[in-house]
């Protein structure tokens, strides 16, 4: 059972902040005081009662843009993570369970993909692909699925050599029982923690691409793109660009805290129930 009192402070902080970001993302049009593209004042107005975070390089309300930015950032990152996870986990488990040439072929191919730094390969591929959100999600998801593949395969291979899996094979159990009843329940906790890590990576990767001008295209803007829009203000002492950058950092830290807690919680129990 989940005992609320036993959740450490760090995890609480992470859960609350992550929740806040999610609320912003889901209810953006209702929360944001102004429209996303609406010009409400001068360029780079400082923080004030009217514009809590000031205005941006075109005089748009920064707070509203941050809230809409949360929506785009989180949506793309979630979809890319979902893609990388389903692709990586399914292929990884299959490779571990089937073994043989499929495993060898997949693993060598993943080794090859991983021998090029993800950002560099992403840039190379984006140089020829059309710039739109779908491409972005596909590129991010596929490139990142290599890491999920490696983890799932390693976890499944470890479990696959356990005596209880051998016992199930000796009993004559089919592949489905072995994957879903013997391997998967034991692989879940490291994978769930990894989910958080992959999401953070997706957020950081998307932000980097948008910052470099190769991610989300204007007039839409994610947080990385907002840093790019406002970066020229920095040299004049206008910190507008730091706000979306800080938001990315806070989101990443919150999710990290939650993932850490999930990992600790699940490695503690060694299976079975939480308070055995």
């Amino acid at each position: 059972m989940l005992d609320l009192k036993r959740i450490p402070v760090g995890a609480w902080l992470g859960l609350i902040l992550t929740g806040l970001f999610l609320i912003c993302a889901v209810f953006a049009p209702w929360i944001a005081p102004h429209g996303n593209g609406e010009i409400v004042g001068d360029v780079w107005e400082p923080m004030s009662a009217a514009h809590w975070l000031g205005t941006d390089n075109l005089g748009r309300d920064l707070l509203s843009r941050m809230i809409y930015g949360a929506r785009i950032t989180i949506l793309i990152a979630v979809l890319a993570t979902a893609l990388s996870f389903s692709l990586g986990a399914i292929l990884g488990f299959t490779a571990a369970a089937v073994g043989g040439w499929f495993d060898t072929l997949m693993s060598r191919f993943v080794d090859l993909l991983m021998s090029i730094p993800t950002l560099i390969f992403g840039l190379v591929v984006l140089s020829v692909l059309p710039t739109n959100t779908l491409t972005l999600i596909l590129v991010m998801g596929i490139l990142d699925s290599t890491r999920v593949y490696r983890l799932s395969r390693a976890v499944a291979v470890d479990i696959n050599v356990m005596d209880y899996v051998e016992a199930a094979k000796l009993r004559g159990e089919g592949m489905r029982w072995i994957i879903f009843r013997e391997i998967l329940p034991n692989a879940l906790s490291p994978l769930i923690a990894e989910l958080g890590v992959r999401f953070i990576f997706a957020v950081l990767f998307l932000s980097a691409l948008s910052f470099l001008g190769l991610g989300v295209q204007p007039p839409d803007s994610d947080w990385g793109g907002m840093v790019k829009e406002n970066k020229d203000g920095i040299v004049f002492g206008i910190p507008a660009a730091l706000i979306p950058a800080a938001a990315i950092a806070v989101l990443a830290i919150s999710v990290n805290l939650v993932a850490d807690w999930v990992l600790n919680r699940t490695t503690d129990l060694k299976g079975g129930r939480g308070n055995g």
Binding site: Y164, E166, A167, G172, E173, D268, K270, G271, G272, G274
Partner: protein
């Protein structure tokens, strides 16, 4: 109370531990850390040149007490009470520098796994003489000379050059002897031997044991000898202390402890190998025959089974005995189809069994069940005991729902565990209970044969004893046959009807138990049988003398 020098520390008393209390902090998941007491007010004393055996099951605190004589606590263990007088000084008051001066000088340590205890980056000689040089006991030349003499005394091959080797270049039994030489090199007053032969094969153990015993006698060093094997400790100690759950059970002379134990627990430890079992006559036709099976790993590269043939009779036990690398577990893999044989066949009920697991019908799989050495990894940690035992019922017989629960309860009764265990997870069971659940899972399939792969070797002797008795009772009730794989000859004597002795992939001796265990023996069986420690003072000398005569005779 310790302000004045203790009076009882007569010159002959080397080590005097009084009311030792040792605690550790444990961190249970989700709970506040708490202190647990590992050792409760244990006192002992040891005279110069004497050997005290510390014996007990896992968790008895024997290693913890042994290491306390060096003022050392492993992994956050703290000495919280009592005095440890070594050579008349309380070492707990010596301070960090004082403790360093006595470690490696007055007391030395021999670990269970020498392979891990040597630094892989340095030559053996550098490590052997390190403590002597550090404490200024000898110059490098003197220390090396002494080390070479010790290597010779411990019957190591090439005593003059073995020190130039690295740890991974030397075998496990030899490393254990080098570690003993390392402990002796700085001429300490006391050596702590922590299960020094437990990790070794039985035929290697006897040589190492004899070498250690001779070295102790010739150098006059005192020793604390820690082990879980009473027969081993009976060979080397003058006195034995029996411990349980961190408390003293009984302390006495070796002869008294093994011949006239006063405590019930000691008595149980002494008589642990005695199980009443009458050998069943080899009557009737075998239902499972292994014929000329050859099997190999790595696509035929490494042959691990060579032309092996054995038969199993209904309701009887065939014990397969051998040391590590003898191919005994591979035989089980070949029979179950996990490692399809290259040559030869396995017949079951008069028809050949398919070589590969995947080609066998469900009915054949049901007839052959298996129990593993490590019960904790043989059960899915995310399934309850009810699911684990119930699955074969569902899978083979289609029994579900209330009927399944009824059968699970019945099986839990058979393994002497109550109904309440059905909802537990494996992590919530003790080692012996886990193994019982595995037995129940095998029984649920109503098999003709259960393969038991070293099922008792990870368990404490008393628990193992209980499991063996249970297996024998179940055999009576269910008429199931066992293929019992083990390295432990005492177990074999207790339960087997017939025995196959394996050595390097071959069956070197095979027949009914009485036939196999009656002379004349072949050379390997003789070596194996004569290496198993017996709970008898002077057995070691006799066994070694027997060997020397034999090698002289040949």
């Amino acid at each position: 109370m310790a302000k004045t020098a203790p009076q009882s520390a007569t010159p002959e008393t080397l080590l005097d531990i009084r009311n030792l209390r040792i605690e550790a902090t444990v961190y249970p998941p989700g709970e506040a850390p708490k202190a647990v007491t590992l050792v409760h007010d244990v006192s002992l004393s040891l005279k110069r040149g004497k050997v005290l055996g510390l014996i007990g099951e896992s968790g008895a605190g024997k290693s913890t007490i042994g290491l306390s004589s060096m003022a050392y606590g492993r992994g956050g263990v703290r000495i919280t009470g009592g005095e440890i007088m070594l050579n008349g000084h309380d070492i707990l008051k010596a301070g960090a520098g004082g403790i360093r001066k006595l470690r490696g000088r007055e007391v030395c340590y021999v670990a269970q796994s020498a392979a891990a205890a040597f630094n892989p980056a340095h030559k053996l000689m550098d490590q052997v003489v390190e403590a002597s040089l550090l404490h200024g006991v000898a110059t490098r030349a003197e220390a090396e000379k002494r080390a070479k003499a010790l290597f010779k005394k411990l019957s190591l091959p090439n005593p003059d050059t073995i020190g130039e080797r690295y740890p991974h270049q030397v075998s496990g039994g030899q490393l254990q002897r080098v570690m003993t030489a390392m402990a002796l090199c700085s001429e300490p007053d006391l050596i702590v031997f922590d299960e020094p032969t437990t990790a070794l094969d039985v035929t290697t153990q006897i040589d190492v044991l004899a070498a250690i015993k001779d070295a102790i006698r010739d150098t006059g060093v005192a020793a604390l000898y820690i082990t879980h094997d009473l027969a081993v400790v009976a060979q080397v100690s003058d006195e034995i202390m029996v411990l349980r759950h961190g408390r003293l059970v009984e302390w006495g002379g070796t002869r008294q402890i093994i011949k006239e134990p006063r405590q019930e627990y000691t008595n149980a430890l002494v008589s642990v190998h005695e199980i009443e079992h009458h050998e069943q006559k080899a009557e009737g036709a075998p239902f499972l025959s292994v014929k000329n099976v050859t099997a190999a790993y790595g696509g035929g590269a490494v042959k691990v089974l060579k032309n092996v043939s054995v038969d199993i009779l209904p309701g009887q036990t065939l014990a397969v005995v051998g040391e590590s690398g003898s191919g005994k577990s591979t035989l089980a893999r070949a029979i179950t189809g996990l490692l399809p044989p290259q040559e030869g066949s396995v017949t079951f009920d008069g028809r050949p069994l398919a070589n590969r697991l995947a080609d066998r019908p469900k009915e054949d799989l049901r007839q052959l069940q298996m129990i593993y050495q490590m019960a904790d990894v043989a059960m899915n940690p995310r399934q309850t005991v009810g699911t684990i035992i119930g699955r074969p019922l569902e899978f083979y017989f289609g029994i579900r729902g209330a009927e399944r629960d009824r059968r699970v309860t019945q099986l839990l009764d058979e393994i002497e565990m109550g109904k309440g265990f059905a909802d537990r997870y494996p992590a919530e069971l003790s080692g012996g209970q886990k193994q019982r659940v595995c037995i129940a899972r095998a029984l649920a399939a109503k098999p003709k044969l259960i393969i038991c792969d070293e099922v008792t070797s990870a368990l404490d002797p008393l628990v193992a004893h209980g499991i063996l008795k249970l297996l024998l009772n179940l055999q009576q009730a269910e008429k199931v046959a066992y293929l019992f794989i083990t390295h432990d000859l005492a177990t074999v004597r207790s339960i087997a009807d017939s025995i196959a002795v394996m050595y390097r992939g071959e069956v070197v001796r095979y027949g009914s138990k009485s036939k196999v265990l009656t002379p004349p023996f072949d050379a390997y069986t003789d070596l194996l049988l004569s290496s198993v420690p017996e709970m008898e003072i002077g057995w070691l000398e006799k066994a070694i003398a027997g060997r020397r005569m034999e090698s002289a005779g040949n």
